[in-house]
């Protein structure tokens, strides 16, 4: 059919032939206009309204699935209807049902947004989508008879296609509202992410960007973000977090006990004011700890680490570096094992994991000279247990040759710290224990240059006086006892 003819037929159909058709179209037009201006009539003001509205509104997420399913069924029935005409007949009925359910969902959606006090661009988009979808469904319903009579071939299929696109878009907005803007990509397999180019650049280095913002992102911004702004609070950027909501600020830097955000997330679950609300999963203890430490230590947007917070990613020890082949020395190691005195044992059944030097059997007589005898084993020893032995500062000359050393125990020895400066070339060292020695703050200073050295123990040394005595009663916890209504 040529375009000119199409237009002629369309015009022929367009001009109402009967009074009934004219009434139908006028009503549809008026109804569409009403729907379009509805957002301006019922303005979302961000405040919760009547409880009954919220009660009914909560059924919106349930009800929306009805028009979704019905609308998806319509094209299917139309296509399969080529083979079985009865199914095509059913399509008209299903479409009608879809329109009614669309309308119902729209009403419930309005009640949810208005009654629950939701505002934001995603809410607006979702609403616009819902209205468009309802109108489009209605037009489909009106255009379908032409198509059935073979009067106009393309209008109805085109309208139906548009309706389905509107459906997808609206549903996506709805998904964003309930699960957050990253709900599609959050758990996407890494391979797929890379392929689709969605893999995010690593977050900026600050503790806020790396640890706090992601917590808010996946747990809070669905309701406190650009899409939905419950209680006037948005948590999707640092400035907005610090600005607070309609009840005032939620983060008081340095004062976790005055920070409403922390209070609300640490209430007992089930409390009326507990966050995240609406039965969403509570934050993990670890996440709460991070938020608390971050507030306590100034709620800074730029600080990169928080004292007292061991991040597991930072805890990961560097992988074991395989030591060389010491099989030629095995007979000697075996002899030591049979005798009393210092021993070398394999760290594990894999020889390349290295050797552990045990001296506890003969600690009192194990001095610098004895240590020197282990020089030939130096590159294979990964753990030197020299606690409470007679070694002195002179031992560092031998120890600096232990190139694969990961752990060095010198607790309770005569070490004073002179010579610790010889250790930095030991790049594998992650642990040093100097407890109960006479090392001073100045003598341990060279250790700070060792980037893999993350466990330094200075208990009971001049470098670190013993900790203050524990109080007799436990320190006041962050939250008062949450036991309520005890029998």
């Amino acid at each position: 059919m040529k375009t000119g003819e199409t237009l002629a037929v369309l015009a022929d159909n367009w001009l109402p032939k009967s009074k009934a058709t004219r009434v139908t179209w006028t009503a549809a037009l008026a109804f569409s206009l009403l729907l379009i201006v509805l957002p301006w009539i019922v303005r979302l003001d961000g405040k919760p309204h009547a409880d009954w509205q919220q009660f009914l509104g909560r059924f919106h997420p349930l009800a929306v699935h009805l028009p979704i399913a019905l609308l998806l069924l319509v094209p299917l029935l139309e296509i399969v209807g080529v083979l079985r005409p009865a199914l095509r007949e059913a399509a008209g009925f299903v479409l009608g049902l879809a329109f009614v359910s669309c309308l119902g969902s729209l009403v419930l959606g309005f009640l949810l947004a208005y009654g629950g006090g939701s505002v934001g661009t995603t809410v607006s988009r979702h609403m616009a989508g819902g209205i468009t979808l309802t109108i489009a469904t209605m037009l489909c319903l009106l255009a379908r008879p032409w198509w059935e009579r073979n009067a106009v071939a393309y209008v109805y299929p085109a309208l139906l296609a548009c309706t389905l696109l509107a459906l997808v878009w609206t549903a996506h907005q709805g998904g964003t509202l309930s699960h957050g803007s990253n709900y599609l990509t959050q758990y996407m397999p890494v391979g797929l992410k890379r392929w689709t180019g969605l893999e995010e650049a690593p977050a900026a280095g600050s503790f806020y960007a790396k640890h706090i913002n992601p917590i808010f992102d996946s747990n809070c911004v669905a309701c406190h973000g650009v899409g939905k702004v419950k209680g006037g609070l948005r948590l999707d950027s640092y400035d907005l977090v610090m600005k607070g909501g309609q009840d005032g600020v939620v983060i008081v830097a340095g004062q976790p006990e005055k920070s409403m955000l922390l209070t609300r997330i640490t209430l007992p679950p089930g409390h009326k004011q507990f966050m995240p609300a609406e039965g969403k999963p509570p934050l993990s203890a670890e996440q709460i700890a991070w938020i608390k430490a971050w507030i306590e230590q100034g709620a800074s947007p730029t600080a990169t680490s928080m004292t007292g917070i061991d991040l597991h990613e930072q805890q990961a020890e560097p992988p074991l570096q395989p030591v060389g082949d010491y099989s030629a020395l095995m007979p000697e190691i075996g002899q030591m094992d049979q005798a009393q005195g210092p021993k070398l044992k394999q760290l594990s059944s894999k020889p390349e994991d290295g050797l552990v030097l045990f001296t506890v059997d003969s600690a009192a007589t194990f001095g610098d000279a004895q240590l020197k005898q282990f020089q030939k084993f130096a590159p294979y020893i990964v753990d030197a247990e020299l606690g409470r032995t007679a070694v002195t500062n002179a031992s560092f000359d031998t120890l600096k040759q232990f190139t694969h050393l990961r752990a060095l125990h010198l607790e309770g020895t005569q070490i004073t710290g002179d010579g610790l400066a010889k250790l930095p070339p030991l790049s594998q060292l992650t642990y040093i224990n100097l407890s109960g020695t006479q090392v001073t703050a100045a003598s341990v200073a060279p250790l700070s240059a060792m980037k893999n050295l993350r466990h330094i123990y200075l208990y009971n040394t001049p470098a670190q006086p013993p900790p203050p005595l524990p109080p007799d009663t436990p320190s006041a916890p962050a939250q008062p006892a949450a036991k309520s209504a005890a029998p």
Partner: protein
Amino acid sequence: MKQHPLCTDTEQASHVMDMAIPAEMKREWATLQTRRHFLGRSGKVLGWAAMASLLGGRALKGDTHGPAYGQQGAPGADQLKLPQFAPKAKRAIYLFMSGGPSQVDLWDYKPGLAALYDKDIPDSVRGAQQLTGMTAGQARFPIAPSHWAFKRYGQTGTFVSDLLPYTGRIADDLAIIKSTNTEAINHEPAIMLMNTGNMNAGKPCLGSWLAYGLGSMNDNLPTFMVLQTKLNTHENNQPVSSRLWSSGFLSSEYAGVGLRSAGDPVLYLTDPDGVDREVRRNMLDAVNEINRQTYRELGDPETNARISQYEMAYRMQTSVPELADLSKEPKSTWDLYGPDAKEPGTFAYNCLMARRLAERGVRFTQIYKRGWDMHDNVTVTLPIICGEVDRACYALVTDLKQRGLLDDTLVVWAGEFGRTVYSQGGLTPDNYGRDHHPRCYTTWMTGGGVRTGITYGETDEYSYNVVKDPVTVRDFNATLLHCLGIDHNKLSYNFQGLDQKLTGPTPASVVQGLLA
């Protein structure tokens, strides 16, 4: 070949004719003893004999561990190739809370129970569970909410009962497992299961497996030591006995060595008057020579175990007095552990001793604390026992941490089961009792290899059933072994035709969520 005490093979088999069976059956049996039977059986014997010589003598004895006889000690780490991978923890301290601590009153915070006071626990929650004889006859099972409030502790905001104010302070350092569960409902099988991986006596315990698999770090002290806590007469003390630290079918060298809670830590360790060190040495050399003769004659590896134990005792004559001498402990130690630690045999003293043993390279220390079995009078008894345990646990973990020992020491706190949320006997606003509860109980661990600052697993609102991440005793033990560098499937010993394991034949899995 080593004979286990429980094995009865050596007893004279009673003859059929002497058995208390009908005479008719005896006659029938006698007629079956025909020439044909005799020849048939003789043939089989010849076949077996031929097969045995083909396989070699060792296979016949069920010995697969190489030429260990005659050497000092039995097969150990070298033959087993342990640890299989670089361990996070070199040693472990196991605080065993015998009797079954109440998870509802200590760890498993259930604020919702307050509203259910004296209501019956729904049948759907209990299911078809078989109860103990102590409460099975009860007409109703009224819910007894915890008498104590809970507070949040640490940066993790972990809820801990007011009964454990000190332990609460180390909540950030613990991995608290709320979903531990067991199959046994009474003390004896449950405690055996927890300690040896099997409800029946006769299997080696965790400490023995470690001593066998990993060997010693200090030849002057036993590899596996056991510290018992003095009894408190206020408490219902279920017995704890040496079968819990038995080496089972492993060599007796690997059994736990107990330190006494009063007087000399080890009996007869000091030389009597007039016997000096040299005389003792000469005497031991002579005794050892006689023992070696015995070994050559009989070939019983237990003789070698005896020789090495004599030698160990000789070395312990100097190492134990140094170990037990607390006079050099600084004041800060006593401030940390509290005044109880000065009295030998208290739990606090034992915790301090465990730290000293860890410093001295003892592979495994197990402390037993009895008295958690509170069937009644919980509100009076529980604070007493918590008072004994709470500060000491805190002190031990804190002390290990500040001294840099927690990095390579695994610390475990566990009982054999939990206690019921419903009251045993009468429930009053002031008091209640709690029966044994195997379906969920709370344990914790910390130290080398453990992911700390977490709570693992969840129970339902009644603290009755596990609803998330259950941890069986097998999984629990497999996880402990993993922290020490051992694959629980590969630490095995061939006995009675099976590769025996701590985790038993049922598949067990390491709980990855508990690992750092």
